[in-house]
């Protein structure tokens, strides 16, 4: 059993100059065979493993990571957590996650710094207002704590926003979810890894998937850079690389992997204590506990696995930031980076079985996967363990692209007349 983290363990270890801390997780060689193998050591993958072990008593399992855990989109995202989605299916999925977030630090005995500072979405034109009000009403009836704010209330909630009616696209109001907020991305991956490892899950880093062995229509095991591993269940949680893995079994997915960029400013003393998003002018910003402004940019329109995007996207985002926060003009960009996001045509994820027995996919989270991490892991674990979806992820199957029963979260098409 791992020693518990607490202020007391810190004091205790201080006396031994912190020489005696245990490893957060082991560094095992892969076994010959596992009950199930999760491909991808990001937040979603590690959470899946954690819940498989915890709730479904599958302890002889492994998480395969070609690089270092949490090194993909988990460690690259802007950590916004909210559940104010339009459709019932999405609301159910994301609010399930949000409820787990609320107790996650204690559950994992690892401070994931879930900070419920609220997330506010702004409206800049009349169609925005209709769409956001529609969402707010839907949220309320789904038991999600979203409220509509008029322009003055927006200003009151976040005073540094430029709410002047004379700017190019004035703020006409916004919707606020107070339970929403941010968390510490690394801590989520590390916390789940530590928790899963404690229950016997093998976390195998620097091990790349090379192929999937099938017998007829069911999986038998995987070829890896560390050799063949036998297993009857494979859960793929590879985000941007999902299609690459799907192609190993000639499976095509309704995905495109595109660059998504983000940036942080130099750290400053607290200046904005909530999360503000604006889809119309494409900018969202929050401030990290370290003091950096964390700013999310948009995606590029082309497929790329380079983890780099075009400068115009960054320029466009900061343009919008300065439109809403002219006071930030002298702030400096400290670091800019990109991730690879796998996007579905309906901007909703896939948590689903496939036509191949024992092969499961959890992908298509696009730009918003982080917020769902605990829920996604929990539901994917359920799907893998029972070979059938939980009712909360039933709608997020691959077949919806055949039937046409999509969960369109683009919001209204916003075509003006």
């Amino acid at each position: 059993m791992k020693n518990k983290y607490s202020i007391f363990s810190l004091i205790k270890n201080a006396f031994s100059y912190h020489e005696n801390w245990q490893r957060a997780w082991r560094d095992p060689e892969p076994k010959k065979e596992y009950e199930a193998i999760i491909i991808g050591g990001g937040g979603h993958g590690l959470a899946t493993a954690y819940y498989l072990a915890k709730k479904h008593n599958m302890k002889n399992i492994a998480v395969l990571e070609k690089g270092w855990i949490g090194g993909g989109n988990t460690g690259r995202n802007t950590t916004i957590i909210r559940s104010n989605y339009l459709w019932d299916a999405s609301a159910g999925l994301y609010d399930h996650a949000l409820k787990i977030w609320e107790g996650l630090s204690q559950e994992l005995n690892y401070n994931v710094m879930f900070s419920q500072r609220g997330v506010m979405n702004l409206a800049h034109n009349l169609q925005d207002v209709r769409d956001l009000k529609r969402r707010t009403h839907a949220n309320r009836l789904n038991g999600i704590d979203a409220v509509w704010l008029n322009t003055d209330e927006v200003k009151k909630f976040c005073p540094i926003i430029n709410t002047s009616p004379n700017i190019r696209y004035p703020v006409l109001g916004g919707t606020l979810q107070r339970r929403a907020g941010t968390a510490r991305h690394d801590a989520v991956a590390w916390g789940y890894a530590r928790g899963a490892d404690a229950m016997g899950v093998d976390i195998i880093q620097n091990c790349e998937l090379k192929g999937i062995k099938r017998n007829g229509n069911s999986v038998e095991g995987i070829e890896t850079t560390k050799g063949f591993i036998k297993t009857k269940k494979i859960g793929v949680v590879a985000a941007g690389h999902s299609s690459v893995i799907a192609s190993m079994v000639d499976l095509k997915l309704p995905l495109e992997s595109k660059p998504l960029q983000a940036l942080v400013s130099e750290p400053v003393k607290p200046i904005i204590d909530t999360v503000v998003m604006s889809n119309a002018v494409h900018a969202y910003v929050s401030q990290s506990d370290k003091g950096e402004l964390v700013i999310g940019a948009g995606t590029d329109a082309y497929v790329s696995y380079t983890q780099r995007g075009s400068h115009d996207v960054v320029e466009g985002t900061l343009k919008a930031i300065l439109e809403l926060y002219p006071i930030f003009s002298r702030m400096k960009m400290l670091r800019q980076w990109g991730g690879i996001v796998d996007i579905c045509p309906d901007a909703s994820p896939i948590i689903s079985k496939t036509h191949i027995k024992g092969l499961y996919f959890n992908c298509g989270w696009g730009t918003g996967g982080f917020k769902a991490t605990p829920g996604s892991g929990d539901l994917f674990a359920h799907t893998i363990a029972n070979d059938e979806p939980h009712k909360l992820n039933a709608d997020f199957n691959i077949n919806r692209f055949v039937s046409g029963d999509l969960v369109d979260e683009h919001g209204a098409a916003a075509v003006a007349h």
Partner: protein, 1001 residues
Amino acid sequence: MSKDLRITNNKFIDQTTRISFKFDGKTLYGFKGDTLASALLANNIHLVGRSFKYHRPRGIMACGSEEPNAIVQVGSDASMTEPNTRVTEIELYEGLEATSQNCWPSVNFDIGAINNFFSPLIPAAFYYKTFMWPANFWKLYEYFIRKSAGLGKSPTKPDKDIYDHRYLHCDVLVVGGGISGIMAAKTAAKNNLNTVLIDDKINLGGTTLFQQNECFKINNTYSNEWLKKEIESLNSLKNLTIKTRTSLAAYHSYNYLLARENLTDHLDINEKKDKVRQRLWKIRAKKVIISTGAMERPLIFNNNDRPGIMLSSSIKKYIDYYGVKCGQKISLFTNNDSAYETAISLNNSGVNVNSVIDIRDKTNSIIVKQAEELGIKIHWKSSIVNTNGYKKINSIEIMKLTDDGAAVVGEKIKEQCDCLGISGGWTPRVHLFTQSGGKLKFRDEDNVFLPDKSELDQISIGSCNGDFELDDVIKNSVTLTNKFLNVDNNDYENLEIISSKETTKKNIWLLPSDKLLSKAKQFLDFQNDSTANDIKLALREGFKSIEHVKRYTTTGMATDQGKLSNMHALGIIAETAGVKMGELGTTTFRPPYTPLTFGAIVGRNVGEFFDITRKTPIHDWHVENKAEFENVGQWKRAWYYPKKNESMHDAVQRESKAARDSAGMLDASTLGKIDIQGTDASEFLNRVYTNAWSKLEIGKCRYGLMLNEDGMVYDDGVTTRLGENHYIMTTTTGGAANVLSKLEDYLQTEWPELDVYLTSVTDQFATISICGPNSKKILTKVIPDLDLSDKEFPHMSFKNASINNIKCRVMRISFTGEHSYEINIQSSFGKSVWEKCFEAGKEFNITPYGTETMHLLRAEKGFIITGQDTDGTMTPVDLQMDWIISKKKYDFIGKRSLYRSDTIRDDRKQLVGLITEDPKEVLEEGAQIVSEINKKPVEMLGHVTSSYFSPNLNKSIALAVVKNGKNLKGHKMFVPMKNKTINVTITDSVFLDKDNKRLNA
């Protein structure tokens, strides 16, 4: 300023021009040419900041962008203040004000320093391990953590400065104006290549600029004098553009680079006004030569972070370039030869060098000999095991190293000093190279990462390519440049170069101490306060990859992005984990190289230029007549025309009533217009619209619905057949551009066999819509010679006409359900014709109305607005517009999708009308609709898409999409609001004039 710290004979600083500035409220003086750093040092001020975590006193350490400690808040004006600025990069100007950051009440007495006492309790990443109980207390903990975090303060008022952009295309871009960059630029320009040379300093020359030492000579002159001539010779080259004060921020693929030019920061306060502060150069270079030089490494030993401990090469620059002594009794600590250059410079300037502590066994390179001849004391094979002095170093403790360098032995020598120069060797600046996607290789002998493979057309030369000695730098730069540019420049052949050669190399990443390692404080990342112990803790806890260690300990994540700390972090990881450094790899260097202001990135695209504003030909009239405007895409559209202190509601009610009672007019110029010609025009329309077009007579108009391939409604509008093979299509305002490119896409890629040409003519025409029972009378006045009889000019038809000899197209079409006409005239006369119609209509009280009234009027008739009543999930069937889907046509865009298992469901959400029980009650657009309120969870059947109070029906009306709506006509439903529930009844979506009598009224 304390005179005794200035040396007088100095070429670079104008000691005749005294400049006054404020630091922490105290007025001080420096000279023109000083940086804030050199001026502070000249005033004997080392302590300028406190560290991020432990609030330890920190001083100036370097002389350039790698400075980790000395960052300050510049200016106090709420709109012009700038946080986290390196004193080493601030040029001194009259009126400069700077204050220390992250300390309270003052940098000299900082309460936060209490953290230093608690430091045993707060090792790396301690916060992951605590603050978890009680659960709901995190908000509170976090509040205090956030307060203590952060460094400087954000401005609180909008920036008054101007930023600009400029694109630049060149054959060769040379980054870095040191000796190798200068030679490369000269070579390129002389060979008729359009060349740009940029350097972030005030003047070219790099460190050679002030290298006046017997050990470094070219053709029997000091290297600095030789270089001076080279720099002068650049002026005569016409192909060469030189940009100083310009720092390369980012190197993207396809040789696309961003460079920030500082234009006013060095100017006196009163000279800055109305000038561009920073210009961001967007450079596209055919070839790039990187000559960014190298950074000196610190040494990692116990208490290596005290004010007064500086990089040896920086001490040299302060004395040789700025003429500033960093101390009176200076000691130097090194593992290589370069510290001896500093020693000699200091000695020549009359500064007393206590001693040089060198971890190497005796070496005999000529520069070391020179130092010895000058009588400088050297402690060979020794290390510093501790330093003393809280706010400024006052002494060091020296011990002998064991042969393996793993421990210290013998007696401890204490040496007084007021400044310590440290030199841990050199790190090539490969940041830009890696940003550009280049891969690095590792050179074991001196532990450096060097440029290896690159995807792009570029090279690295000079010390950023691993050449650290003058003759290598020159020889290799010349060869590499000539080969790269494929030229044969012999300017630099057979130069006579004298250069001291380093004969012995030795490196210890983490120097031993007589103290227990875990008790010692050896700082790696000075700004983020991460120590060697933090690295070891991370490794102990299983964080193996450099990325993990970096994130766990925050090493290299401060505002200097680890310029000084990354190598040591890697080194210590390698040593501890027992792996070879080369195999460990390095962290990725991300843009920008140095922090870049948001302002520079955005340029002048702020305020009115944040986004394009499109205006109709009649815009000015709307302004003159006090219209309120609505943003529709990039267009400004008249929203409504309030009379004196009339509310929006009242205005819209008045406009709507007038339009139906008599006459109204609308500026519809924003609608997209696409001219379609070609022999297959009809067939083309058959394929893009859901309905059939072949049989449409010439001179007739037809409404069309366009789908996406997924079967969902995409756009709509009226298309008119002008001739056998000639149509004019109208699209929605917002859809115009997308529709055209979508149609071009199908034409060019799917149906190239079709003979069809599309031309956008949106801006060619002003479109004026006149509607209402009196519209005919008004049009007769405007175009007397046009026969408007229903027989000659029926609904949904078109006529060519002319107004005062200006040709125009008149359509009789209606989006309001009223008898109405649409005049399309070339834009130049749009306003004039609008005014003419307005005049003609006066006797009928013609009323200009805006988009809001238009929306209301069409809603009374149940006409949809794509984007408002549809949201990308509605099929024509859902809209109950089955009539518009041609059953005969074999195919059209999106047809197949209408027959998928989900889209054929009968109980999909369908467009219906809603009537509120209380006719005064106007529903909120976006409100949800349910059949039972008490059921939990309540099932949402749909939502309100459009809702208005109709002055013509004198009741509230709404359009909505409701699950299975078409079978629920007459059913009662509920609209649950936050604090009440509204009773509604589902009705037909046409509220007014169901049998379209008014069209011909």
